[in-house]
Amino acid sequence: MAERRLSLRNGRVLDPASGLDQLMDLHLSDGRIVALGPPPIGFSPEQVIDADGLIVCPGLVDLCARLREPGLEHKGTIASETRAAAAGGVTTLCCPPDTDPVVDTPAVAQLIRRRAKTRGFARVLPVGALTKGLAGQQITEMAALKEAGCPVVGHGDKPIRNTRVQRRALEYAATFELTSFLHPADHDLSEGGLAHEGRVSTQLGLPGIPEAAETVAVARDLALAEQTGARVHFRGLSTGRATEMLAEARERGIAASADVSVHQLFLTEENLYGFDANAHLVPPLRTARDRDVLREAVASGAISAICSDHRPHEPDAKLAPFPQTRPGISALETLLALVLELARDHVMDLGTALARVTCNPAAILNRCTGEIAVGARADLCVFDLNERWRPGPDNWLSRGQNTPFFGREMQGRVRYTLASGRLVYDARNGGCPLPRSGKD
């Protein structure tokens, strides 16, 4: 790729990893940050972006966003969903292995990476499957998956029912220093459930998913992590109790981390009143108390990352009686605004909130992104902290319009997104010039 030089002028540069928070210029060349403050001698940018009044932070790192390709292109494609990612300031994302075919062979992982490179607007890291076909029986060729570009392994939101298989899968993954992403839900306790078991499920006559579905799974997997020494990452905690169990385990030195899906910090079971299909989620929305404990855990760092848990759907997937609808929210484009709301609501300060979507998830992936420093990859998100907007079909890029946040006032909006020094989103054009090409 030809050397591209770009300067960002007068932005408030905020880097949660180093604690930097200062008005300054940034200079990029060949996909990397080459200087903070004054430009290197003789530096002549081809493009200058005026970031006056804007915040420049590392590009967001999302540990869970479904792109639906291959196999479910009627819901979304790598092109459409990475475009939404870029509009949301996300420059790196992990896609779970539950595509069709499943990411259980190097060929599928390579296919996703190749398509993302040629058609995508964000760096896509496929999560390799722990078992073949996500059937929970036979473990995959994880060494080959790692070789093919899977930085971590996981199981989508299908729990491995057989504890012996789970143990072996974690051990085998640990052989190659692969972290395992686990969706903590006991299969038998959550099977058939549609809502948090409690007041609202009782009123609406919906089959419940008890808190114990999550705590039983977390207890099992923490015990296995302790026994095997494998590194586990709990994807999408939903209960306060499981969060407390994780904190206790970490104090004992167990190598476990966790994230939370951003909507779990805002919505509760009460959003199910009226049978709103957009509130049909996996794991289910829990109580206000759970939400508050999750918020505290994110603030304290016990939960170290926030994900979009992006799941785009075609309209028909939500156009049915509640139990027949598919779970999930199209969430990439509201991730940043909601994270900023946590800071505005004084749940945590701005730097901490941004750390949960930049350097912290990058550390879980062991990837060198999510920070602003000389020599670092120029993955950047430039946003207006104060711009008010309402998400809606007119300003939406994801193919999935399934979100309960349409029409809700948001504050804070992405202006520019740069991935490896390339402008992949420019709000002035309502999108982006050209897909990325060439090397990653």
Partner: protein
């Protein structure tokens, strides 16, 4: 959308009947008063009134039910409507047609009312939200959520025997967890002013946080639950509960929660016994109770017809809307309303 707003039209009249939730006491009382007037229709030589003449009512049943469908069909016919029975199990959706496709097809036939039964909680509301504006929807049971006409016919039966709801203690026994009937009964009893609603059953069949969520008192002991009760409602126990590890056996259920002559002693002497049917004799109650003097089970069936006529005519009856709103605002006593309705019926 909140079902509370969905069920009433701009002038506060009943448009859809999906759930008891959100309807006020005046409206529930109006249903009961109107049903009172329809009771007489069954005793006339010509068992028909023309309130829904020229209307098409479609019974759209996504779940099998002969009894409920039959009473809705009969109620519609007594209102002089044309009735269409659509049994979805044997038609469309098994060929891949979506629920909305099915509804659009029926709308194209200019059906005025859908009476729907569906295995999914919230299905009736979904249908009402997506139906054409000229269509009314009556929920004939959706999942474990609501079965409001059953709830109201039970209220009607209670009122005929007790004359009022204030001060009454009602006890519902059995599988509360899966019961749409129980949810509608509880909602109606509370709205109409019953003093106390109790539920009795093993913990596996009582839903989570029931006291807070439903506003009931929970008992695990039948004898305690029946103490000084005015109304005893037994729910049908589905056989499949034995497979789902909710219960060990019908035998043990009857042993602990079956209603017997001996156990009913703790209730008030004039307590009535109800059951939405069909009864499992020797499981929910012994035969002596079902056929005994306190049982009003067969009456419930006849009352079901009057209540369904009342709800249907309130939603799509054209001739007496004015009367309906007049009776709501003036709040006459029930006999007066019944007389008024009888007059109206004769004129029609």
């Amino acid at each position: 959308m909140d079902p509370r707003h969905l069920q009433l039209d701009d002038e506060g009249r009943l448009k859809h009947f999906l759930t008891i939730d959100g309807l006020d006491r005046a409206l529930l009382t109006e249903i009961l008063d109107r049903a009172e007037g329809f009771l007489g229709v069954a005793r006339q030589a010509v068992k028909k009134v023309p309130l829904c003449r020229g209307k098409i009512i479609a019974n759209v049943f996504f779940e099998n039910s002969t009894r409920t469908r039959t009473t809705f069909e009969l109620a519609a016919k007594r209102l002089s409507a044309d009735v269409l029975n659509v049994n979805i199990n044997t038609s469309a959706t098994s060929k891949g047609e979506t629920l909305l496709d099915t509804l659009r097809n029926l709308e194209a036939m200019h059906v005025d009312m859908f009476v729907v039964r569906h295995a999914d909680s919230g299905a009736a509301q979904f249908i009402a939200e997506h139906a054409a504006p000229f269509v009314s929807v009556i929920n004939a049971g959706d999942g474990s959520y609501a079965h409001p006409t059953q709830g109201m016919l039970d209220m009607f039966t209670i009122r005929r025997h007790k004359g009022r709801f204030e001060g009454l203690t009602a006890v519902i026994v059995g599988d509360i967890l899966h019961s749409r009937v129980a949810r509608s009964q509880i909602g109606a009893l509370r709205t109409l002013g019953a003093a106390e609603v109790r539920v009795v059953g093993p913990r596996t069949l009582i839903p989570a946080d029931a006291e807070e969520a439903l506003g009931v008192r929970v008992f695990q002991d039948l004898r305690e639950g029946l103490h000084e009760a005015d109304v005893i409602i037994l729910l049908r126990l589905q056989r499949e509960r034995m497979n789902g590890a909710f219960l060990p056996s019908e035998h043990e259920f009857f042993h602990l929660f079956g209603l017997t002559e001996q156990r009913i002693d703790g209730a008030k002497p004039d307590a009535i016994v109800m059951h939405p049917g069909p009864i499992n004799r020797g499981v929910e109650m012994e035969s002596g109770i079902a056929d005994g003097p306190r049982s009003v089970i067969l009456e419930q069936v006849s009352n079901g017809l009057a209540v369904r006529m009342a709800v249907m005519s309130m939603c799509i009856g054209t001739q007496n809307l004015a009367m309906a709103s007049a009776s709501r605002s003036a709040q006459p006593d029930q006999d007066a309303t019944a007389d008024l309705l009888a007059e109206e019926l004769e004129r029609g």
